[in-house]
């Protein structure tokens, strides 16, 4: 499942975010991406390697060029992770709120509520 942490780390870099944004327009070869970005072609290659390792993009040999495209399924782990995170956070907040509104066994009227 390519640990969600690794995917988040990959998504953390702004250049990789830019590459993914470009690939959202459609599949593109490496040279094309490099031409649209303020970094060199090898830099793009390295970023694509990272993105490929975590499963966010897939590549395809096309003649002498290598065309990359985003892999929709690659985002599944992050979505699942964030969903878990979301529900957990809500639960934690609910417990916290309840604990605030309904003090179980503490001095009841020590501090004013409003």
């Amino acid at each position: 499942m390519t640990n969600a942490s690794a995917i988040l780390a990959a998504l953390g870099d702004p250049t990789r975010q830019a590459i993914l944004d470009l690939l959202l327009e459609g599949p593109q070869p490496v040279g094309e991406l490099a031409a649209l970005l303020p970094v060199s072609r090898p830099a793009v290659s390295q970023h694509l390697k990272v993105l490929k390792e975590v499963g966010l993009v897939v590549d395809r040999q096309e003649g002498t060029r290598r065309v990359y495209r985003v892999d929709p399924t690659g985002l599944a782990p992050v979505r699942a992770y964030l969903d878990r995170f979301w529900t957990q956070a809500v639960v934690a907040f609910a417990e916290y709120a309840e604990e605030q509104a309904d003090p179980p066994s503490s001095t009841e009227s020590k501090e004013k509520d409003r």
Copy 2:
């Protein structure tokens, strides 16, 4: 809305991920977090500062201690961003697949399909 890129960058660091995971168990003071992590207390403070700036956590003074907890709403921008990303990726893939299955106006039988 604290740009989604900034939140993703914050989520990229493994130590911050660990801190957030701990905070999912419930609100905790800084010292408690530092005791559970392989880094010093100031390091935790600095990470909490970053997490707070992007809106992923909120803090609350509690006596001499400062208790942090995750803010569920802080994740909303990332969820929105990833949702957009997801649908875009699916669209891009659909166009790509269609282009593969139904070559519009290219040399039709130049390469073998199967």
